[in-house]
């Protein structure tokens, strides 16, 4: 399933590590040799390659500044890489018309501004905008999709409330509902659990897991939380300084000899006896 899986990053002579998470369904999303820099600053991505199979939940991990969010913004087409290419379903991203791409790929950004005072229902209906006409008025089908998205995220009771007055967990569910209303094949999420307590963290990941299982959605999630990623993801992609340091199943990536150099801190990995998945303990320097 995962070629090059668990390969620790090596010295200068080490072979290039690629995050190949093709899965059973064949590659759905692939990035090849991505290079990107903001303006004249040092490059954020330096030849990053990875693939994600259809119907997989992949989690991108890495230290601060390793290029996770930038990668996600390239994958959704918000940024154009200086070099390299992203393919979706075998077709280069650049060849998709904007609206066509928005009908296939949904994006949940790190933070959502609350300016405007839109209601929850209005916010979720915005997810239908790639499907509506020039004036942007929704059809019965669009309303149906929005209601379905609210139902899936258990947000129906919130529908008439203003987005501004929701708690962080509720708001995050609504933003995920907006992404689902797009009826995409692929959802990209940038740290969706950052401001949530442990219950809501599990609720969001549980929902993503369910969507992958029931709807064959492909999910790529950026997260700082290694344990949460290990518990829910099919595949992990570990970034380090704009490259893939390791990719593959959680047990293959979450290894002390891989993680410690990337995070530059001692890390101990254990196995959860119930789930069989790894979890880690930061070990403070003695």
């Amino acid at each position: 399933m995962a070629q090059g899986s668990g390969t620790p990053i090596g010295g200068a002579a080490a072979p290039k590590v690629e995050g190949d998470l093709t899965g059973q369904g064949g590659p759905y999303l692939s990035a090849t040799d991505l290079v990107f820099a903001y303006g004249s600053a040092a490059p954020v991505l330096r030849g990053l390659s990875m693939t994600v199979g259809r119907g997989r939940l992949a989690n991108v991990l890495g230290p601060n500044g390793s290029g996770k969010s930038t990668l996600l913004r390239i994958l959704v087409g918000l940024l154009d890489p200086a070099e390299g290419q992203v393919r979706l379903g075998g077709i280069p991203l650049a060849e998709y018309p904007r609206a066509a791409l928005a009908r296939r790929v949904a994006y949940v950004p790190q933070e959502t501004a609350t300016m405007g005072g839109f209601s929850v229902l209005e916010t979720v209906l915005m997810g239908r905008s790639p499907h509506t006409g020039a004036l942007g008025f929704e059809s019965a089908g669009d309303w149906h999709a929005a209601r379905e998205a609210l139902r899936l995220t258990d947000s129906e009771p919130l529908a008439e409330r203003s987005l501004d007055e929701l708690s962080g967990g509720e708001r995050q569910r609504v933003i995920v509902a907006r992404a689902l209303a797009q009826e995409p094949d692929l959802i990209l999420l940038d740290e969706p659990t950052t401001f949530l307590d442990i219950k809501h963290q599990h609720a969001i990941y549980g929902l993503l897991r369910r969507l992958v299982r029931e709807r064959s959605l492909t999910v790529v999630c950026v997260s700082h939380d290694l344990n949460l990623a290990a518990a829910y993801a099919d595949d992990l992609v570990l970034l380090d300084a704009g490259r893939v340091a390791a990719a593959g199943a959680p047990a293959d990536v979450l290894r002390p000899e891989i993680l410690s150099p990337v995070y530059d801190t001692p890390i101990e990995v254990r196995t959860d006896e119930v789930t069989g998945r790894p979890y880690l303990l930061p070990r403070p320097p003695l």
């Binding site: 918000l78 405007g116 839109f118 209005e122 942007g136």
Partner: protein, 332 residues
Amino acid sequence: MTLRPLTARSYILTVLLWMFVWAVVSAGALAVGAENIWKWQSWEQVHNVLGLRLYSVLSASAVGAALALAGLALQALLRNPLADPYVLGVSGGASLGVILSSLWLTVIAAPLFGFIGALVTVGIIYAVAQRRGRLEPYTLLLTGVIVNAFYAAAIMLVNSLVDPARRGDIAYWMMGSINTFDPQWKIVIIVGALATAACIAFALFAKGFNLVAVGEDTAGALGVRVGRLRVVTLIIASLVTGASVALVGPIGFVGLICPHLLRLAFGPDHRRLVPATFFFGATFLVLADLATRLLEGIGGQTPPVGVLTAMAGVPFFVYLLRARWRKAAELR
């Protein structure tokens, strides 16, 4: 849960407001009701009085619609509820352009120079207030203060250099007034046409405005070409502001007051706000102009309408600023 489309409410309100607007034509120091027209001496008199009233109403409608739409678009695009062409200095830039063109060129060149002044100002604001592609709300307002200060100085410089006989004209013009002594019908038509075109364009952009208000990345991921939307919108806002200033001078706060009152009535959805702003902006300035004519009865002179809108707008600005702080404190 009900669908809240462009409902009867907004249409009824619009029709009522327009009936009111046309009633305004007959109000003023000289009553021009249908029953009085027959008592007048000649058709020439009827034509003159009605013509000037009509000119006032049409100028105020065109300028009100244009400035309110420019304010709405700037607020949506800059994601700043305090944005307004006057506050940001766009009207100031347009004023300098119009004054410079009036020194050497024909009147009809004024809208073009107003547009150039407005567009240059938008460029300056972007260059100064932008940090990593984002416009900080308060930096934006401070930039507006600085830009306005510069234009005020530049206009005073020009004013001190011109023929002393013209100084009073420029100073009065800078207060923003609908001048019926020297009607410029061609410019009224230009402003009206531009405001209508802006309304149509912004109605097509309304979906994009909604999404940008929520977040630029979100808008981009939902298929909006944010960069293109921004450039085209800023050009249109500069065009209508420049042409308005060429016609009536810098009239402030219309673009701040109108969209906010309409948000209270219709909510944040720009698909409703754009047409509502077009009609309400027009009505608002017609009423403000009517108020100046009613004040004429007190003092014997007509005060500039820009003075009234500023007196209404400044407390409104303070209210919005306080509301924003309150909201920020609640979120914290």
